[in-house]
Symmetry: C2
């Protein structure tokens, strides 16, 4: 495998070196009585919706961590160990799982009855510290997570020197890795990207040749899309200038999947510019589809109790949570949630099979695309 | 997509037709006062270990279901509906998710205030009834589940007319579908199959070029292997005559993954001949590896309480459960579990990173293979 070189490598290395120098200067300075680290606060209280950009971002709260006191000495040592290890990863052109980093750095401290790390929570927290202190993110530091999702469609991807024709993947598809920053798009004949909530629905569309007949790139999220899937949609939209349609269940969970893909998530608000795709549109399922496509007999009742009637609980609570988000305040979204509450039902994308197995590929999606019927 | 034709299609269609005819004969026979269905009991009480074959199988218990009484009429209708739908799937060369089948068949019954199916549990149970009554399994009936796992290595697979070179898949890999019976192996240069518990470990091996240097087919299970992954290992072993090595964590969960891949699972004992690979061997992690490779400082303490000391609970309980299985009774397995209990520790495959990132690819696995150090 050739060295993995990412676009941000030199920038990330500079940031890691800068961090090291700053610490060294503080140590060398006789006036300095502590080592400090300024970090942007990442809790929900500091997450803001940037309406102009259409995505979540961190606000202006900063906190300062100090290291030169005994209770912080352990954390300080750990921070330098992880920073040094990620620098080594970037320089050697390798990637590693955060679990491997933990095991690589776990050892006993000579002369002490103490380990460098006791469990992976410690090293994971330090990874977040370094992300915050350098402005680099996990993938920039060459650290990956579990993979999830698959891809089909008229695009040729160069992944680490191998050219993969994603139209030629049968019913199997390309497994989407956790890090996709090194992907190069060698050729692309696609007209749009369709991100789909379930892999079973992608299987249906592949079997009906939807990707071939409509020049579509199909990506299955397998539920909430992973960082790899979100990053992939972001860079494909950006580099290939393709519209992005999101196809989920008509329920608060499906709409939240759409919202995360489009605007980012609260826990990763500091990465929205690389993970979110504000131009994405929802192609369905909508509450109007239920009547439009005769799905009344295949809706499911919402679980839990409605507000004022012992609730809201379960599905009802989730609807209220999501409809209260600042970035869900436009009329069309409020309208969807209100209809869901009024009807007391949800509808799954696979309910379209009630009409026929090929209905979703031959009628539902083509009609929506032809009529530009999207929620934004 | 060309029609999906499976090896068993004509046999499965015969079985479905036979089922239909049997029911019709019973209905036509004035002497017959009920419709019956003989099914092999699938509960654990009827699961046996076939020592000669090295896999789990169902025993001789049968039960008879009767349909012509009012409480069973609904189930009877549902059974015929699902049987008819799967016949249609096979004839049209399509596959479907069991959720799609549910939605395809859910409708109100004319003249009655009743639906054919109220929830998917009803149709799922009927699918199992039909599997049992016909001897065909879910995949024979063209029904699929969610996909999981990925594959890399020197093999060219023809999937529905597309030829996929799995050595040319970068860091991404081939996504393994739920149904793989239609795979044709066009070319294969591999010397063995390595089934790996975590996708992160496969990522490591791919990055270190292990599959290229050792002519290995790498398959990531992503935890407990899916039916698709188990079937794929079974047919690759069978058709390509390749040894199968299983690489898991050194803990009761990892050893259970090995046991399911090798001998089958209790809930799918009736399918062991197609899902289990009795020739599979465990390459590691073993309890001996801890000393052999200097991993003492990266083991994890077992969770819970040992027997006689308020336990066994958690990990300790799981160890006792798995070591009590009939197919785990040979000395080497009892020895592994006993050592685990004595040391009170478990060890993860990624702990090998403590030596170096490339250690697993350059030292650990090659040494085990070279020395034929496997557990059987």
């Amino acid at each position: 495998m050739p060295k993995k070189e990412f676009e941000n490598d030199s920038k990330t290395l500079e940031q890691l070196k800068h961090l090291g120098k700053k610490i060294k200067n503080q140590l060398d300075d006789p006036e300095e009585d502590d080592l400090t680290f300024d970090t942007q606060v990442r809790s929900r209280s500091n997450v803001e919706y940037d309406e102009k950009e259409g995505r979540l971002a961190l606000g202006d709260s900063y906190s300062t961590r100090k290291f030169l006191n005994i209770s912080h000495a352990r954390k300080f040592m750990q921070t330098l160990m992880v920073a040094s290890k990620t620098k080594e990863l970037i320089e050697s052109g390798r990637t590693a799982a955060i679990r491997e980093v933990y095991y690589q750095l776990k050892h006993s401290v000579p002369g002490l009855d103490e380990n460098t790390f006791e469990d992976q929570d410690e090293s994971n927290n330090v990874v977040v510290d370094i992300e915050t202190a350098t402005g680099a993110i996990r993938e920039d530091l060459h650290l990956f997570a579990e993979k999830k999702g698959s891809l089909f469609g008229p695009v040729v991807i160069n992944d680490s020197g191998d050219e993969i024709d994603c139209m030629n993947m049968g019913t199997s598809g390309l497994a989407i890795p956790s890090i996709v920053d090194h992907y190069e798009f060698v050729e692309c004949e696609a007209d749009f990207i369709l991100l789909v909530e379930t892999s079973a629905m992608v299987n249906r569309l592949v079997e009906e040749d939807f990707h071939e007949e409509h020049n579509a790139i199909l990506i299955s999220a397998g539920g909430q899309p992973s960082r790899g899937v979100r990053r992939l949609v972001n860079i494909m939209h950006d580099r290939l200038d393709l519209p992005v349609y999101v196809f989920t269940d008509g329920d608060p969970w499906g709409y939240y999947i759409y919202s995360v893909l489009k605007s980012g998530s609260m826990s990763l608000a500091f990465q929205s510019d690389r993970l979110a795709t504000p131009d994405a549109k929802l192609i369905g399922m909508t509450m109007e589809d239920i009547e439009e496509y005769g799905l009344e007999h295949v809706t499911e009742d919402l679980k839990g109790k409605p507000e004022g009637n012992g609730g809201p609980t379960k599905d009802y609570k989730r609807i209220h949570d999501v409809m209260d988000y600042e970035w869900m305040q436009n009329d069309q979204w409020q309208n969807q949630f209100q209809k869901m509450l009024d009807k007391g039902v949800r509808v799954e994308q696979q309910a379209l099979a009630a009409n026929s197995l090929e209905f979703v590929a031959n009628t539902y999606l083509p009609e929506k695309i032809e009529n530009k019927e999207f929620l934004n």
